[in-house]
Amino acid sequence: MESSYVRRGFALAVTATMALAACTQQPAASPAPSASATPVAQRGAGGELKILYWQAPTILNAHQATGTKDNDASRLVLEPLASWDKNGQALANGLAAEIPTVANGGVAKDFTSVTWKLRTGVKWSDGTPFTADDVVGTYTYMCDEKTAASTVDVCEGVKSVTAKDPNTAVVTYSPAQPFYFQWGVGFNTPIIQKAQYANCLGVKAKDCPADLKPIGTGPYKVNTFKPGDVVQYDLNENFRDPNKPFFKTVTLKGGGDAASAARAVFQTGDVDYAWNLQVEASVLKPMAASSTTGRLLTSYASSVERLLVNFSNPDASLGDKRGEPDTKHPFFTDIHVRRALAMATDRASVASQLYGDGLTGKATCNILTAPTAMESKNSDSFDICKFDLNAANKELDDAGWAKGSDNVRAKGGQKLKILYQTTVNSVRQSTQAIMKSNWEKVGFQVELKSVPASTFFTNTSPDGANHFWADVEMFTNSGDPNPTGYFRGWTCKTATGKANNWNGSNYNRYCNPDFDKVVDQMAVEADQAKLAQLAIQANDILIKDVVIIPLINRVAPTPDGVSKALKGIDVSGWDSVMYNIADWSK
């Protein structure tokens, strides 16, 4: 039963994608503008820049980061070769002199190597020269499994990083990597000083004093760092651009809560930048609108709050087989039930009531929302993307799921009873309530469950997202500028279960060979336009097959508050918010 529906859905998706692709302009991979496009500021003319994070940084080496807070705090000091701009394109504002392309000979035609030309004359904040050896040193450090770097994922498929000469570094991939900027661009590959980390390689990385005071090439250097509290930075006199940075010092204070952080930027103007203002829209919206001191930064990328539908059987009575990939869900294997669930999902109300309609998120029916060229336009016309309780009821009636005296539908003694789990979070609990009321109107019986985030996002807890011992679960996830790895998380091979200690990324335990084929094609596709087509195809399969029900495209990286006086901020959803802090001024 299931596979025939799957195939039908797939065929439809393919046709739709082809039709769309014919009339869509595909952007060419373009070299990014150079960093000096911003107006010249005077070095150190600004006083103190005050940044407030309600999660405090605990380490300043991004390779050992445990969260965005650490990546961001580290970015003022440590820079990658290049950054990701807001369109998901590489931007040469880091240590690379230019962005390598096939055209300029930097990228091998077969995508097995990337040759990075480095800026000349760059110095570390301690005055020593930066060379390609440091790039190699960073590779040696982060890609050694014993280092246990949290950034090691970008090392996958990297055969070597070598120094051709002091100003040229070559990254070699095996097998060929169409996403050739995997290593070198963005917050996962900040370049550390080889000399400083000489004694921190491998197992010694766990206890390395340099992590608390890294020497960098970035616009600022660490003055004082109190883990879990505050970082004070001074201007780096050795920074390569003599006019930058504008601020003499930066204070990044951590702790507290998002609501008072919002007040500090919107009401008192005590801080210039407040990170991740996860406050209910009804509070945040008027506060930001009436503020004379601050404004809200909203940018979107691929961060999507979604519902996952379980394809395995989470019944506890199965014992050892509970939720294993080879079990079948008692009623979600029927596509009509999944479709009805999707049609009874009111994402518009969630977007307007809980996300302030564009304040912290907007409704979406795509699982891949960015880069823009890769976002499916087809889903607008999918019936399952429209909130329609009558259609949902009809779908279930037609499929033979009859309502009982308790208003819960059943077929062959199997009731449509759903356990719906997510993390403890007021917005999520409100979303759950909206879903429950609608789903119950079409004959589902819904039990809600909320688990603390620290328990939910683990592979060890039976209450966690990985085990997914529930019928529906909800959380946010996002992808890279190249979405191949993201989509791999729904392929048969990655199904989570006992065999891989619940470390597989396919929590749904969805398995569709047709979908796998599309992802396999994506992995070897070098042409951006064709890749975009495949990505749209993959997206549409997951949506039409109701593997996931996307709800909200959330502001990415985070909804931040920023002083109206602050200039030069150009947030990218693909990189750290601090990626261009050298250009910030007042």
Binding site: V203, A205, D257, A465, S505
Partner: protein, 319 residues
Amino acid sequence: MGRYIARRLLIAVPTLIVISFVIYAILALAPIDPLSQFGADPRVPAEVRERIRESLGLNQPWPIRYVKWMTSMFRGDFGVSFMSHSSVGDLIAQRLPNTLAVVGVAYVFGVLMGIPVGMISAIKRYSIFDHAATTVAFMGFSVPTFFTGLLLIIIFGIKLRWFPFIYSSTTQVHDLDSFVFQIRQSIMPITVLGLFNVATIARYVRSEMLEHLPLDYVRTARGKGLMERLVVLRHVLRNSLIPVVTLVALGVPTVFGGAIVTEQIFRVPGIGELLVTSISNGDIPVVATVVFIFAVLVVTFNLLADLLYAVLDPRIRYT
């Protein structure tokens, strides 16, 4: 007396070992995961998390981790934080001054204010002062600190803008200006905590004093013509203070523990804040150490309180 102290100290050792074991067992068995931070980040896939888990030694069975932790504790090495890779001792040393400056000062303030307020309330029972003090005291310990804290922030931090509500731990007091700033930034958290402390202690002192005032020995003291001041201070207060001393002494370890809620609200990077973020981050070495130090302090101050009894009440003799 010496033998008594020695005996108590000897009992303390197994007590603390049991406590440390319980702490570690609870932490090990609790569903907290130091790697949960990586949660839904697709850029830190499961295999990487597994590798990090191994590098932190979390793949070993917890009894082995416990023994390792205990033995290094005895050597004075509190271990290394999972999150910051810095030594737990350093983290505590960074936090302690802030805790002492806010929670400690609030405690001292509470004791210094609470005792006289309680005394006057008792002596001038049912006076306007007593009624006022009683009302404030009831408010002090019935309104939660997160409420008074937010109230103060909204009134004095946001509407009036008298005091900053983001505590800066990097302020170094070296001149009058920085001293004034330090006072301005500590005044709200100290008030919140101080109010609570004053309330508790004042109520205690008042009821103890009221119990003693009508007793025979007080009448005798008055009868032999002692000045009222001496009667109150030398006789009534001294006797009433015995239970108060226990209260105060047992309260000292809680100063170290910090004020979790208040520190969080005012962003005071104290021990309480360290503890609560470490718990949510699953930073087991930090949590275990802070809780264990807390246990040591509780045991120590229990002993001190018992010894103080003997000083205050000559009838009590320990052998």
